[in-house]
Amino acid sequence: MASQEKREILSEAELEARARELGREVIGAQDARRGGVGLVAFQLGPEWFGLPVGHARAVLYRPAVTPVPGTPPFVAGVVNLRGEILGVLDLAVLFGLHRPRNAYAFAVVASAEGVEAAVLAERVEDVVWLEAGREEPVVSTLPPEQAHFFEGIYHDAGRLISVVALPEILRHPPLAALRAP
């Protein structure tokens, strides 16, 4: 009981903080929207990633992830999304980053090519609008076998946002094997 109450209070506080953040973002994003690129920006460790808005469906707060045996390590498990079961990806594992010490606070529900998945995140900023055509090629610091997981990298207010190529990730053989007929 006690833990659940605590969770409620926390969620309110966090939601408020997030709402303020979002408000700032939306106001700032207005100008960029003309001909811009919309990204749902999310944070894994120190790094920022972006999912094109076209792929994003919803953001889950404190997803309760149930592990699924027999899946690769970057499949975190499944969550209950309004009575339906949805697979969850831990991109930190796929990208070789450190996983957070605590449970992930968010998951972004995204879909591409008829496949729906939730992507875990430590922080989420809803939509960041960036000027189109300003992306830079994927920098060479990434291991070459991971480069194809990204569409490009944007500079945004002093930070780098790597745009995740969701369809490419879903085509990654260990993942594709989990839905092979």
């Binding site: 149930t66 592990p67 045996p69 009575g83 339906e84 079961i85 697979g87």
Partner: protein
């Protein structure tokens, strides 16, 4: 005809649209006529529109418009009919009339009654001259929409009608599309009773979804009689109409005309086809019954009625082939009725072939094709039949007035919509469970506050009793400050308890509602097995005729209900089993006669509920299967070695027929083929989590029993814990869950194993098999789930086996469609997900990859704690006993009354029950009785505890078969602990 308010509204809306259109056209024509005086086509158009408007106005009760339209018509007749031009004065009056009619129509649409100005009526009346009878004897021109599709033959009918002293009328039927389909047949029937229907034309629907159909009828009935009919049937009457002056166009190629028709009524046709597919299916059953009972008059009448109705509706909805074919069937059926034809096999064959053709026609219609080829063979066959037999002496009697079709009280809902509802209801259930936990939380808090007060009193008493050593002043000060505080805490406690009571009551209400909601939703998906069984007589009959055998089929339990998806998945396996029974199971009549059996083989098909599953049985009284023969074939075909075959039990031998590629018949028939089928049947059944078994006695027949879940969405599973995960194992493959003392673990080929019912079964840790890191199962005894797979048996060691449950099987989502060993997932009562594993596939995995896990390698076994369930309506007593028993090392669960106790007993492992007697909902005696009557809990030790010391209570307690009876009066803690230890074992 009484229409509901909504259909009336739709009619009025439709009428307003129509009136606007007519009046606009009339006004335009009036203005044009001034420019082109004497243009007959303009006059004709105005006359026609006013006439139609008058009819429609009468239907909706807009008498003002009807009156104005009638007068306007008369004015036009008086002026134009006499070959004179309209003078500006008359044009003025007519334009005013059009405006007035528009005003009335708009008023009607808004629910206002607008009367036409009396002066205008008078002026029109004066212009019209002497009053005209309504409707007049003058013919109105025929509706151009009808004329456009009128064939030469129909035009000839129209002209002939006049010569026969009949008049022709247009009857327009309009109704909201939703009810159009349901009413059109009866309307058509009624119209046909009036006279001869020359044509039926679908008109483009009016705004607001009002569909229209126009009948062109020639009749001898008086106009008044027709008007009366139309008013009663919500139809509008136009006429009499005259044959078109311009020659009708030649009969169009059928398809073109039909195409026009089909586009106009596409939506209606779709609905119609869906309905008729079912009717035709039904017709096929009736035909089969007819073959058995050729003299059954009511049956024949019913078939005749259906064919007749198909003939009519086929024509209306634009399926000429359907109409033609059912017309022919009708003729044949009529001959059967007046006994100029006998319902022999050939006739029934031809009729069944016609039904099949009808089905094909409707199937084509569903794909948007309207053809007639499918009907040709059946038409030829029917024609041949009719030609062969003598024509009837008397003209065919008309069909008796058929009853009106029953009102449909069902709707079609997409399954996914239903699934979403079920999902939402499950979410409610989770909310309900959370709320129940919250109620218990409030209850606990209330108890803690009470406890706090007790301790408070203790402290105060100590202060008061601190004696002469204490300072009286200090005590006074303390008391004066503490007493008000105490009162406030006491008030708080009372409020908390009141809150809890309210919370508890509403939660119980919500719980009940959510549970019934879910049950109702599940029941929506259920359909009777008859949907499947109804096709069996036809299948069996056809197969029997092909095989040259006689078969009588008996069907029972057709009203047993099961989930639609289960039923659909069973369609193919069932046909296959029936084929096998007819083709292989039953002997030819001669062989049966030699065996002393009746020449007709018997096949029985039945369905029944067996617990929460459904049992479908297909049995025959044929030659049966010989286990020895099967074993010999199995060895010949390399399925078994000779030694293996010798060791097989007869029932195991029979199950060999489910092996892919196994067949004991060398001949190939066009019915069953060779060596295919039974393995497909088995895999189909298993796909929907069912189970099939076979029993056979040589010479006496074979029985297949198929057990199916009531719903594909609901599966039986055993919940287990392994490496900290809650997993569900599908129950189909699970033989049992055993507690295995470590001492009984053996080793074979360096792998752990144990003896299970005379076999050596390997032991594998589930966590290791799934490569889940975490604590390995430990303890003594081990909890072992014994699983049967294709490769053999396997003991899965888990940390805990929780319970066998029914789960709603859900897919794991598009990302994780096919994870090895995972059958799906389910959402548990608390909202968490449990992964559902296919236990039998784990056996294969274990065979491929023997694990390194050995039970001996585990640390010190931790024996499971004994657990006690305390049942008492008093929170204080519950907490007291709980503290006492927990202190002694027991795991304790509590319940507030008997019913709650039973729920807990269903869900968790309990070693002994300690219960109060007087409790709400279900008292202690009833609880004991319920436990004793329970198949699994029957021998559960129960200790009855009560405050009263009455002899009859003690007797009642013993009568209820309690194991011990203790009095609260003489309640001693040590005594209770001793009884618990006696009955449940030491903690």
């Amino acid at each position: 005809m009484s229409d509901g308010p909504s259909s009336r509204d739709a009619l009025v809306r439709g009428f307003r649209e129509e009136a606007r259109e007519h009046l606009e056209a009339v006004s335009r024509a009036l203005v044009d006529l001034e420019k082109r005086p004497g243009d007959a086509s303009l006059l004709e158009e105005m006359m026609r529109r006013l006439h139609n408007l008058k009819g429609a106005a009468k239907v909706v009760g807009a008498d003002g418009i009807a009156h104005l339209a009638h007068l306007s018509e008369s004015v036009l007749e008086a002026v134009g009919g006499g070959g004179k031009d309209l003078d500006p004065d008359a044009t003025d009056a007519l334009l005013q009339a059009a405006d007035a009619m528009r005003a009335v129509a708009e008023g009607l649409g808004e629910g206002r009654a607008v009367d036409p100005p009396a002066a205008l009526l008078e002026r029109l009346g004066a212009l019209a001259g002497p009053a005209q009878p309504d409707p007049g004897g003058v013919s109105a021109p025929i509706d151009p929409d009808i004329r456009a599709v009128l064939t030469e033959a129909q035009a000839a009918d129209l002209s002939a009608a006049g010569e026969q002293g009949k008049t022709c009328w247009e009857l327009e039927f309009c109704a909201p599309e939703a009810e159009f389909g349901a009413r059109i047949q009866s309307v058509h029937r009624e119209v046909k009773a009036l006279g001869e229907v020359i044509s039926v034309t679908g008109l483009s629907p009016r705004a607001g979804g009002v569909a229209r159909l126009k009948f062109l009828v020639s009749t001898q009935l008086a106009p008044l009689r027709l008007e009366e009919f139309c008013r009663g049937a919500s139809m509008s009457l136009t006429g009499p109409v005259s044959p078109p002056a311009t020659p009708a166009r030649p009969a169009p190629p059928t398809n073109e005309g039909e195409e026009v028709f089909a586009t106009e009524m596409a939506a209606l046709v779709e609905k119609y086809v869906a309905e008729k597919v079912e009717d035709v299916e039904n017709l096929s059953h009736l035909m089969l019954a007819l073959e058995e009972r050729p003299d059954d008059r009511p049956l024949l009448n019913e078939i005749f009625r259906q064919a007749h109705s198909l003939k009519g509706s086929g024509a209306i909805y634009g399926f000429p082939a359907v109409s033609q074919l059912s017309g022919q069937m009708e003729t044949v059926l009529d001959r059967l009725r007046n006994r100029t034809l006998k319902a022999g096999a050939r006739v029934v064959d031809a009729l069944l072939a016609s039904v099949d053709a009808l089905q094909r026609l409707f199937a084509e219609a569903r794909q948007g094709r309207i053809g007639s080829e499918a009907a040709q063979p059946a038409l030829r066959e029917l024609a041949a039949l009719l030609a062969a037999e003598a024509p009837p002496a008397a003209a065919a009697a008309r069909a008796a007035e058929p009853p009106r079709p029953p009102v449909r009280e069902t709707i079609r809902v997409r399954l996914e919509k239903l699934d979403r509802l079920v999902n939402l209801a499950s979410e409610l259930t989770i909310a309900k469970n959370t709320r129940e936990a919250a109620v218990r939380g409030v209850e606990e808090e209330a108890y803690r506050v009470k406890d706090l007060l007790v301790r408070w009193h203790g402290v105060l008493d100590e202060l008061r009793l601190s004696g002469p050593g204490g300072s009286p002043e200090l005590r006074e000060v303390l008391e004066s400050r503490l007493d008000p505080l105490e009162a406030r805490v006491r008030g708080l406690q009372t409020e908390l308890e009141a809150l809890w009571e309210r919370f508890d009551a509403t939660t119980q209400h919500a719980t009940g509602t959510v549970e019934s909601l879910q049950a109702e939703l599940m029941s929506i998906r259920m359909v009777p097995v008859s949907l499947l069984f109804d096709t069996a007589p036809r299948t069996v009959r056809d197969l029997a005729r092909q095989a040259g055998k006689e078969v009588s089929l008996s069907v029972s339990g057709a009203d047993t209900e099961v989930d639609r998806q289960v039923l659909e998945a069973m369609a193919d396996p069932l046909v296959h089993l029936l084929r096998n029974a007819v083709d292989h199971g039953l002997e030819p009549p001669s062989a049966r006669a030699r065996a002393g059996k009746s020449p007709a083989g018997r096949i029985a098909l039945s369905a029944e509920h067996a617990g929460n599953r459904i049992l479908i049985t297909v049995s025959d009284d044929g030659r049966g299967m010989d286990p020895q023969l099967i074993l010999r074939k199995a060895v010949e075909r390399g399925f078994l070695t000779a030694t293996q075959a010798q060791r097989q039990m007869p029932e195991e031998a029979l199950s060999l027929i489910f092996q892919p590629g196994f067949s004991t018949r060398d001949d190939v028939t066009d019915v069953s083929g060779r060596g295919v089928g039974m393995d497909v049947v088995k895999s189909n059944v298993e796909k929907i989590k069912g189970h099939i078994e076979v029993e056979s006695h040589p010479g006496r027949g074979t029985t297949f029993r198929i057990q199916l879940p009531l719903s594909v969405a609901i599966v039986q599973a055993v919940l287990v814990e392994s490496a900290g995960l809650t997993l569900a194992l599908l129950a189909q493959a699970i033989l049992e869950v055993v507690r295995l003392p470590l001492a009984q673990v053996e080793t074979e080929d360096e792998r752990p194993c144990f003896q299970h019912r005379g076999r050596t079964v390997p032991l594998v840790s589930l966590a290791e098999l799934l490569s889940v890191s975490g604590a390995h199962p430990r303890g003594d005894p081990l909890t072992v789930v014994v699983v049967q797979g294709i490769e053999g048996r396997l003991g899965l060691v888990v940390s805990r086996a929780l319970e066998e449950v029914e789960l709603v099987l859900k897919t794991m989502g598009s990302l994780l469609k096919r994870v090895p060993h995972v059958a799906g997932g389910t959402i548990l009562a608390d909202g968490r997900i449990a992964v559902i594993l296919d236990a039998s596939s784990l056996v294969s995995a274990a065979v491929r990859r023997p694990g390194a896990w050995t039970p001996e390698a585990e640390g010190q076994p931790a024996p499971p704690r004994r657990s006690v369930l305390v049942v008492d309506d008093s929170l204080t007593t519950r907490e007291l006993l709980k503290g006492l028993l927990e202190g002694a090392g027991y795991a304790v669960a509590t319940a507030r009354h008997g019913r709650e106790a039973l729920e807990i007993l269903e869900q968790r492992q309990v070693d002994v029950v300690v219960t109060d007697i007087a409790m709400p909902e279900m008292d202690g005696y009833a609880l004991v009785q319920a436990i004793r009557g329970h198949p699994r809990l029957g021998r559960m030790p129960v200790i009855l505890v009560t405050g009263a010391l009455r002899e009859e209570e003690r007797l009642a307690g013993l009568k209820a078969q309690a194991d011990a009876y203790m009095l609260k009066g003489s309640f001693d803690q040590a005594g209770l602990l001793e009884r618990v230890a006696d009955l449940a074992g030491r903690p």
